[in-house]
């Protein structure tokens, strides 16, 4: 039996995943704006769906970059994605309604410069480097913005730095009980960074299949969303947090089952592991 090489070589082309990732992430983040329109916090869960979409796109970008054997391990790619993403995201929150678009543009600029630095000053000379680092900075920034929207229901600087605390029946404004002031952003940072680097690290090798890796990414992303949804109990109303939590658990159970099915499909069979095939699009 010979293996289906075409699945290993590509499946869905990377550019399709890129466009679908950008559009669905931005749409999902903007859907949390329904919170402001309807004066509720029920639509915060769209932030979590934005996280899932961004991470699925990001893990495929890591696959494109790390196919070249950059010699530093796959986790470093996830770390630079979020290291550059958090800087763009924090600045972009200042722009209110425009925040997701500003985060996208600013992260793209930072990623572009970092890619140029790696390729020219550090002499990496890897063809996919500039585009991959650009995409990854954008993924990092949008993932953190998605987490922010999921946990607080908003993505503006005011909403992320201001919370309320109830003491003796009085509601007081506080800055400590907030996404940035309480440093929940640090937890969101690592939840995203682990979820983005794990799938390719776990699935790489001659038996790599795209659908299995992307399903694992979705599983990791929903797992992160469960934790973030639990954290959101502190900052948004309990009903809205329960909606996020239920959606995250349903998504995680579904993707986990699918991933196990795909793993069983790919295991227990003889693989004619040919020499490493060329990556798609090169």
């Amino acid at each position: 039996m010979s293996v289906k090489v075409e699945v290993i070589e590509g499946g869905v082309p990377h550019n399709t995943i890129l466009i679908a990732g950008v559009v669905s992430t931005l749409v999902c983040i903007y859907l949390t704006y329904l919170n402001v329109v309807t004066q509720t916090e029920m639509f915060s869960f769209f932030g979590g769906l934005a996280v899932v979409a961004a991470l699925v796109w990001g893990s495929h970008t890591i696959k494109v970059l790390c196919s070249y054997g950059i010699g530093t391990g796959v986790p470093s790619a996830g770390m630079i994605a979020f290291g550059s993403g958090v800087i763009a995201m924090l600045y972009a929150t200042r722009f209110g309604m425009l925040a997701p678009v500003v985060a996208l543009i600013l992260a793209a600029i930072i990623g572009l410069v970092l890619g140029w630095v790696s390729n020219n000053i550090l002499n990496m000379k890897i063809p996919a480097m500039v585009q991959a680092l650009t995409e990854m900075a954008v993924v990092g920034a949008l993932t953190l913005m998605g987490f922010a929207a999921l946990i607080t229901g908003t993505f503006g600087f005011e909403g992320l730095t201001t919370g309320t605390v109830t003491m003796f029946g009085m509601t007081l404004l506080t800055h400590q009980n907030s996404f940035i002031g309480g440093c929940l952003i640090a937890v969101a940072f690592l939840l995203g960074a682990i979820a983005i680097q794990h799938p390719f690290n776990a699935c790489l090798g001659p038996g790599w299949t795209q659908d299995r890796m992307l399903m694992l990414t979705a599983e990791c992303a929903f797992l992160s969303m469960i934790v973030a949804a639990i954290m959101s109990f502190a900052l948004i109303s309990a009903g809205s947090a329960i909606i996020s939590l239920v959606i995250a658990i349903i998504g995680w159970v579904y993707t986990y089952k699918e991933y196990m099915a795909l793993s069983k499909r790919d295991a227990h069979s003889w693989l004619d592991s040919k020499p490493i095939p060329d990556v798609e699009g090169q």
């Binding site: 530093t72 630079i80 800055h175 060329d278």
Partner: protein, 289 residues
């Protein structure tokens, strides 16, 4: 180009043209900061750039072994650059942040800066010293291999010969004395750099955020600490990964031939820190639109 043909191409060659462009880019970014926020913002950006350079340079000293070291086939600590540099930097950052909290506010700002950066440097160096020692315990008593370098015939510091202790088919194993010393120096420089970034941004935010958000200085503290800390971690990771790219993943310490690549890393860290630092400074400026 195929994936097979494009193996890590980062040789030791310098690219003078790109490095010149990088330095000019850094100066342009500093100039933008000078125009938008002279004074306290510019000071913060210069501190961030110096901190980033310290991180990039310091990481070259740290003996990073990666996966081969985990199997005892190469010298160094058995993990990646990003993990080690982050560990040293965050350990240093905690030390420096603690010092920044406990110092009296009436103290001379320059003296504060020196104490905080020194506390961070000690924290980072201590973390690396403990890591290096425990790694050697594990190698010697757990795996039963003697520390030996594969890159030099004699240890540059102690003068001990290495070849007799090196197993055939490996590039050396364990942490020789020079790697241990390199690790401590690297942790010290990394911790100092991370803390310098954190402290400069913290001072900037403490001064600028109350006016921006119309709140008191005490109320703004959690946001200033958290935002400065997140920017410091982000900058730390960017600089650490760029350095990892420079040394293509593994290095034995200051005696490794790859150590000679440090000028590239300094320029790269300066560009990356200037860009990211400019964004971090601009967050407290009034919006341009």
């Amino acid at each position: 180009m195929s994936a097979v043909a494009a193996k890590p191409a980062a040789g030791s060659a310098m690219n003078p043209g790109a490095m010149a462009v990088g330095i000019i880019l850094t100066l342009i970014l500093v100039g933008i900061c000078y125009v938008m926020s002279p004074g306290v913002g510019l000071m913060a950006l210069i501190g961030v750039i110096i901190g980033g350079i310290l991180i990039g340079f310091g990481t070259h000293f740290v003996p990073v072994g990666g996966a081969p070291a985990a199997m005892g086939q190469a010298p160094g600590i058995a993990t990646g650059v990003a993990m080690l540099a982050t560990g040293a930097g965050v350990a240093g950052l905690f030390g420096g942040a603690w010092a920044a909290e406990t110092l009296p506010a009436t103290m001379d700002p320059m003296m504060q800066l020196i104490i905080v950066v020194c506390a961070g440097a000690v924290g980072g160096g201590l973390m690396m010293a403990i890591t290096c020692m425990m790694v050697n315990f594990l190698y010697v008593f757990g795996m039963g291999i003697p520390p030996a370098s594969g890159k030099v015939a004699n240890d540059p510091i102690t003068g001990d010969s290495q070849a007799e202790y090196k197993s055939q088919g490996t590039e050396g194993h364990g942490l020789p004395f020079v790697s241990f010393v390199g690790g401590v120096i690297g942790g010290t420089l990394g911790g100092a750099g991370g803390t310098l970034i954190y402290f400069e941004l913290l001072v900037l935010y403490e001064n600028a955020l109350p006016g921006l958000m119309n709140v008191t200085a005490a109320q703004v503290m959690p946001i200033a600490v958290s935002a400065a800390g997140m920017f410091a971690v982000g900058l730390f990771l960017v600089n650490a990964v760029l350095t990892a790219y420079n040394i293509t993943g593994t290095i034995e310490g200051p005696h490794d031939p790859k150590f000679k690549r440090w000028p590239r890393s300094i320029v790269a860290s300066a560009v990356a820190s200037a860009l990211c630092g400019l964004v971090a400074v601009l967050i407290v400026m009034p919006l341009p639109i």
